[in-house]
């Protein structure tokens, strides 16, 4: 029983997905029922994950049954909390969107929970093939969610593009696994790590090629250059809430596995990719920035800017190791994890708020349509401003602290040049984020965008407000606001540290 407790969060989510699936066979349930039921399961899973927070542990329960393919530690628990929280917030923020779109049926929520299950297992994976299966469970669920409304031609295009490219890149992953297996006769990460430590240079060639192919999948999923071409169309085509989910939560799940793999097992090989990733970062930043500047549609601008954020994340990732294959700069792992939290909050907030606005009016699409929002809906505009500030890394938001960590660690690891480039990307990002703020505040409302029945008092608004408060508290911390027991920034870092340290428990 004591071992079983570690499995509970994932199993709860899986049970929830199955229950929802059965529920969806009956017509009598409304969308609201489905949201409530999914939230119940998610909160149970969230509670169990939270109960294990703060202690460093690493266990592999039911060894004869699971055969070492899954590993349960503080690291995966940390990511589980983020993933579940991201899913809950997505559901709550999208509550109105779901209810006002005819095509959302019960099975959508079942699929959402399956996606979450896949991501959670990805966080637990200690084996390349298991990781692949988990990744595909999550990916396929996301494919379906992207193309959920088949009557919309944009959706069809989006799902087609994503499905074909995603499956194609999945084949690279499998080929990579085969090559690694060919060299080392194992796909288990722990055993691979032993092999890498003792292998000769000749034996390593195949491993390097294999891991590079696996890395391609990683870069594709997080939308780094040159695999970013799908992002704009897929993010644009997908239902807004799904876009929010993909941009924030799904990206975190991808990072959970690759951070684990490179921190724990492949650390020695990391400087092999040093130059490649440096070049990729440069192109990701430049290309993402260029894309974001040229967009006229707000959703596409946010999608393009998420490419730039991938660049920042990779910058923290590359700072992990810089000489002799030793992970010298373990702090940058904390920086990556902190940035993931910061990005989860701000991206979810920004995309979610956009979806909230769009769901009621249907007309706010381009920059121009957002004109005068501040006069019509001052609080929504204020919250949007907070999220955009956070994405741009303006002080007093969590995005600033996130950037602070990432850039500090990158300089610390000797990547001062790349940091300067990242800062220039930030400067340009100020332009495209502030343009939206300027549009919201400084123009009169366009006549055709005014909607009378806009109702602010609903779950979505409160969920977004909650995220906005977290975004500000995470940036200000408890030292500046003395009298309010606020979210302590150090506390988050300590959690991240505990999580990373649990990787090295033998």
């Amino acid at each position: 029983m004591s071992e079983f407790i570690y499995l509970i969060p994932a199993l709860t989510v899986l049970t929830g997905a199955l229950v929802l699936m059965f529920m969806s066979m009956y017509e009598s349930f409304t969308v609201k029922n489905f949201i409530v039921v999914s939230c119940i399961f998610l909160f149970i899973a969230f509670g169990f994950s939270l109960s294990q927070i703060g202690e460093a542990y690493s266990v592999q329960p039911y060894n004869d049954l699971l055969n070492n393919v899954l590993i349960f530690d503080s690291f995966s628990n940390f990511f589980n909390i983020l993933l579940i929280a991201g899913t809950i917030l997505t559901l709550l923020i999208g509550e109105h969107y779901f209810q006002h779109r005819e095509y959302f049926k019960g099975e959508f929520f079942s699929i959402l929970l399956f996606a979450l299950f896949g991501m959670m297992v990805l966080g637990y994976s200690n084996e390349l093939v298991t990781a692949y299966i988990a990744l595909e469970i999550a990916s396929f669920a996301v494919y379906i969610m992207v193309g959920y409304n088949t009557e919309d031609s944009k959706r069809v295009e989006a799902i087609f593009k994503y499905l074909v490219l995603g499956s194609f890149i999945g084949a690279f992953y499998l080929l990579g696994v085969v090559l690694v297996y060919g060299a080392s006769a194992t796909t288990n990460l722990s055993e691979l790590s032993v092999f890498i430590n003792s292998a000769s240079d000749d034996q390593m060639i195949l491993v390097y090629i294999g891991l590079t192919l696996i890395l391609f999948t990683f870069l594709f999923k997080i939308a780094a250059f040159p695999f970013q071409s799908w992002v704009l169309d897929v993010y644009r085509g997908a239902p807004m809430v799904v876009t929010a989910y993909m941009a924030s939560t799904f990206k975190i799940a991808i990072f959970s596995f690759f951070l684990r793999a490179f921190l724990q097992d492949f650390g020695l090989t990391l400087d092999f990719w040093d130059t490649i990733i440096s070049v990729i970062i440069v192109f990701t930043l430049v290309f993402g920035t260029w894309l974001a500047v040229t967009q006229k549609i707000v959703k596409r601008m946010l999608a393009a800017s998420s490419i730039v954020h991938t660049g920042y994340l990779l910058l923290a990732f590359i700072a992990l190791s810089y000489k002799d294959g030793q992970i010298v700069n373990i702090e940058s792992a904390y920086a990556t994890m902190f940035y993931l939290i910061a990005y989860l909050l701000s991206a979810l907030g920004a995309f979610g708020l956009a979806s909230h606005i769009i769901s009621e009016t249907n007309v706010r699409v381009t920059y121009d349509d957002f004109k005068g929002l501040a006069k019509e809906r001052p609080f929504l505009a204020a919250m949007m401003t907070i999220f955009l500030f956070s994405l741009a890394g303006i002080p007093s938001t969590i995005g600033f602290i996130g950037k602070f960590y990432v850039f500090t660690e990158a300089i610390n690891a000797g990547y001062a040049g790349l940091t300067v480039l990242a800062v220039f990307a930030t400067i340009v990002s100020v332009y495209y984020y502030f343009k939206l703020i300027a549009v919201m505040y400084f123009y009169p409302t366009k006549q055709e965008c005014i909607s009378v029945e806009f109702n602010d008092k609903r779950v979505s608004t409160y969920a977004i407000a909650f995220v906005a408060i977290l975004t500000v508290l995470g940036g200000v911390g408890s030292a500046i606001v003395f009298f309010i027991p606020a979210l302590n920034i150090d506390q988050i870092i300590i959690l991240a540290q505990t999580a990373v340290q649990s990787l090295f428990i033998k």
Binding site: Y334, F389, I394, P395, S396, F400, I401, F404, Y405, F407, T408, I411, N412, A416, T419, V420, V423, F424, T426, I427, V430, Y431, F434, K435, A438, V439, Y441, F442, Y443, G477, A479, I480, F482, I489, D490, I493, I494
Partner: protein, 495 residues
């Protein structure tokens, strides 16, 4: 408790502003509450001013951990420099509230309060990250003010000024991070406090120059020093009076202050080595902006150039490496803030009442508004530096300082001051004194109301008090200047 007084001063306006955001009271009530808040702050600052002991270094210090993992502290305190500027801000803001006519919306006053938090926080922080935090926060309300209440192409202006200042700030941000990392590498712990960063010895010369320039970029854009000035023309022309007042009278001065606070202690040798260039650039800016001001037709643009011209002079004084120059620069910061602040507010009133902005359309104001003309003239003379006003004392000190620094530059600085006098007096003659041309419609211009006179009275008093008895003010910050020269720069105050 006495050490928390600074935090109270910093955060009171912001707390009040958040409270006001949630109320639905009418603008007058909100304006009164905002005004009351600033007077409370003024009272507290007066208390600090009296309790402050010159020459005792940092006082009223609060130092509590903010982000412990990276050694970032909430570290505030004040010395002679900050005290003088704090006093200036505390006096200028409440009085300006009495003279802002355009603030007919709730958001205007909320933004004014938020700016005060940002400005005071910037002034009092001694940790560079905390400083950066406030430095950026101070910009955001101004951004909203220009965009919401500005004129003309206000959105373009807003984006331009924001991107400009952000470029500078982020370059400084890289330099801050680099210093932090260097400190960590040398001492094994993280710290971003300015007095800790002073101890770094491992950075090589070339890197130090780059870091110095990174910091300078942020401050030079804000001041602005030639050639980073291109944003101010549109901004001063299109921004509402309140924002122009804040930008020119207060924020530009914080740029100068930050050079003294952070760049001199952290990079003393670079500061000494580069000083000759900056004095020269400062004097060039003085002449360049002066001539540009001479050619302006738009009255707000003329003042924008005039302001830039004086600020270049302040920058030249800061880099003059001796007590005269630095004292004079600090003194001119105050004097210029008072004179330019008042002039911008009066120009704002004239614009509000008549709708005219160009000098040649105006004229004949003296007859209709004698009190306004009188106060306008006093501020103008202070700005030009007539003996008996505070402008005279400060300009004289700076010229002495530059002369001691380099004789040639000293002669140049003494002669260039004339340019300022010429464009100011010429403008005064054309826009205010001279009658309107025959046949043109009569200008409707009201005189100052009692409330506005009360608002301006302390400024007029200060102009003469500072001009006639400079010792009572200089005594407060002189020991700090001596400390900087003797202990940080090692070049001796008496030189």
């Amino acid at each position: 408790m006495s050490s928390d007084i600074l935090s109270f001063i910093i955060f009171l306006p912001a707390i009040v502003a958040f409270g006001l955001m949630l109320t639905t009271r009418d603008v007058n009530t909100i304006r009164n509450i905002a005004f009351l808040t600033t007077t409370v702050i003024l009272a507290l600052v007066l208390k600090i001013y009296i309790e402050f002991i010159p020459g005792e270094g940092m006082q009223f210090v609060t130092n509590v951990p903010w982000i412990e993992t990276y050694g970032i502290n909430y570290y505030v305190g004040l010395d002679g420099f900050s005290l003088t500027i704090l006093m200036m801000i505390a006096i200028l803001i409440p009085t300006s509230y009495l003279l802002l006519w355009e603030g007919r919306t709730k958001g205007y006053w909320i933004n004014m309060l938020l700016v005060q938090t940002g400005v005071t926080g910037t002034l009092l922080s001694l940790d560079v990250v905390l400083f950066y935090f406030f430095w950026e926060v101070m910009l955001l309300p101004v951004f909203l003010m220009i965009g919401s209440y500005g004129f003309g192409e206000k959105v373009y202006t807003t984006i331009k000024v924001t991107v400009y200042t952000m470029v500078g700030s982020l370059l400084m941000f890289i330099a801050i991070l680099y210093l932090g990392v260097a400190y960590h590498a040398e001492f094994g712990t993280w710290s971003f406090a300015y007095n800790e960063l002073m101890k770094i010895t491992t950075i090589d010369y070339n890197t130090k120059v780059w870091l110095f320039l990174g910091f300078l970029a942020a401050f030079a854009i804000k001041i602005p020093i030639f050639p980073l000035h291109t944003w101010i023309m549109e901004t001063y022309k299109n921004a509402p009076t309140g924002a122009v007042f804040l930008l020119s009278s207060i924020m530009a001065k914080l740029g100068v202050y930050a050079i003294v606070r952070f760049m001199i202690p952290i990079f003393p040798e670079i500061y000494i080595e580069f000083s000759v260039y900056f004095v020269a650039i400062g004097l060039f800016g003085l002449v360049y902006f002066g001539i540009a001001a001479l050619m302006q037709d738009d009255i707000k643009r003329m003042f924008a150039y005039s302001s830039a011209s004086h600020l270049s002079f302040i920058a030249a004084g800061i880099f003059s490496l001796n007590e005269y120059g630095i004292n004079g620069a600090l003194y001119l910061i105050i004097a210029h803030a008072i004179a330019t602040g008042a002039l911008f507010l009066l120009i704002g009133l004239i614009h509000e009442e008549t709708g005219f902005k160009t000098i040649k359309d105006l004229g004949g104001i003296a007859k209709q508004a004698p009190v306004l003309t009188f106060i306008f003239a006093i501020m103008l003379f202070a700005n030009v530096g007539l003996p008996g006003t505070n402008g005279f004392v400060s300009e004289l000190l700076i010229i002495f300082g530059i002369y001691e620094f380099n004789h040639t530059l000293g002669y140049i600085s003494a002669t260039t001051v004339v340019i300022g006098a010429s464009y100011m007096l010429w403008m005064f003659q054309r826009a205010i004194l001279q009658d309107r041309p025959e046949g043109s419609p009569v200008l409707k211009m009201r005189d100052l109301k009692i409330k506005e006179m009360i608002g301006l009275a302390p400024w007029v008093i200060l102009v003469f008090l500072m001009g006639l008895y400079p010792e009572i003010f200089i005594n407060k910050f002189e020991p700090t200047v001596t400390h900087y020269l003797n202990d940080i720069l090692h070049i001796g105050a008496s030189k």
